[in-house]
Symmetry: D2
Amino acid sequence: MTYTAQMLETYPADVHLDHQQLASVIDCLTTCAQACSACADACLSEPAEELPRLARCIRDNMDCADICHTTAAVLSRHTGYDASLTHAQVQAAIQATRTCGDSCAEHADAHEHCRICMQACREAEEAMRGLLPKLQPSGRAPGKPSRTAPQQQG
Amino acid sequence: MTYTAQMLETYPADVHLDHQQLASVIDCLTTCAQACSACADACLSEPAEELPRLARCIRDNMDCADICHTTAAVLSRHTGYDASLTHAQVQAAIQATRTCGDSCAEHADAHEHCRICMQACREAEEAMRGLLPKLQPSGRAPGKPSRTAPQQQG
Amino acid sequence: MTYTAQMLETYPADVHLDHQQLASVIDCLTTCAQACSACADACLSEPAEELPRLARCIRDNMDCADICHTTAAVLSRHTGYDASLTHAQVQAAIQATRTCGDSCAEHADAHEHCRICMQACREAEEAMRGLLPKLQPSGRAPGKPSRTAPQQQG
Amino acid sequence: MTYTAQMLETYPADVHLDHQQLASVIDCLTTCAQACSACADACLSEPAEELPRLARCIRDNMDCADICHTTAAVLSRHTGYDASLTHAQVQAAIQATRTCGDSCAEHADAHEHCRICMQACREAEEAMRGLLPKLQPSGRAPGKPSRTAPQQQG
């Protein structure tokens, strides 16, 4: 069991998502953030003639690293859980892994690090697409705030 | 002129957004991220009897700090500009500043740091709401990727 | 092989550190950063009477999460490698994992999440203590810059 | 008065550093982090023939952005203040702004964004060098932990 899963198992309040699925998404996100940081720098160390065509990939790597890291942090917090915020941030991360995975795919044949980073992006994207429907804010009465804070009810 | 504005003025390619408005949004986001980090810690140093009711505010502060910081970084990158990604991340940040601003507002009368942090959240939210319509992906042919990369055309 | 190790194996230039050891340190740091984010929030969801004594632990969690994440990113970059900078940042991270591990240790009997987070901190600290001697800047002539950029020589 | 200064003025416990100096350091760090993120991307949008010589500058920008952001967050937290940790992180940030400022200086004549980013790095470095002596852990009895937690004494 990863540390992420252990932390969920020992959480002192209810976590209103499937623990195993959530741990898997968080681990995919931290792995992807790390791969994207490494891929940005690997691109920078490619030979001079390769650099211009890698500029957009480096940029996408940096966005994806930042966004996946932040999304993992948001998904690791359950105090005062806010479905709308979580949903919006996961949607942005799905877009980031899609964009970065596509950029890396363009260079996957030429650069092994891009092929590996593409895999990490695809896995994170797929994991999040499986989680997204369960994050949908629902049952909100009109005019009510989106915040549901399930574990602090009562 | 802030450093953010100076960096935009000297950008070596086209930036397809109004420089002054973009610089203002980025500066609001970095200011808000900093205020939220400080507010989370200020809440932690409140007297023991105050802490339980501040738990959700601290959580919202941490989300908002992470998301605003990441959003400022995304908005500071123009190489291979991707309107869909930028739009999705700004939407998440609007939600984060709304959620955190509301949390701080609940404690604004009792805690000055919450009142100040609420202001920083509201300013960032308002600045982003003004920018959002200009980030809308548009004119995409069906099946075309969302990426527009305007400054690398030609 | 983790993605971190795969990225190192496919790096397009020399990495002047043992790949296996470096991958292990980076993975410990990302794991620790994630555990600390989760522990901060788990502490916030503890019952009201527990919160005051956990305030310092939450703060240490937040520092340790930020510092470990940044240190993993620095260690993932090899372009223009700067031994002095890497050494200084790893020293700060050793201090952060020591401080946070000690804080969590104080609550390890009462809170399982603190016990698990303490383990993650101890593992990251031990891994970094093993790496630190190999990061020592050396052989610098007086007055020469600390930058060594080994992989770009020649 | 910046939001950073206002947050310090309304902090609910003692802050054992000069408020004005501390606010100035934090603001320099967030400004520098933002400038470095922008400079990394501006370098990526330079013409193809410029990119190879900018690779190291981009890497240094990324390190400096991450480290300055984390250091600003650490300096914004005063609950359970730990002088050793703060001192070590500020030392790493001084090294990062020195390294990145030097990298940008090499390109300051050719690229305005590097000249501006160099200024932001120099200002942050100078501000931190003024603060560092006041962070020195002191008066610790042998064998005592480094933690001083001044605002929780009593």
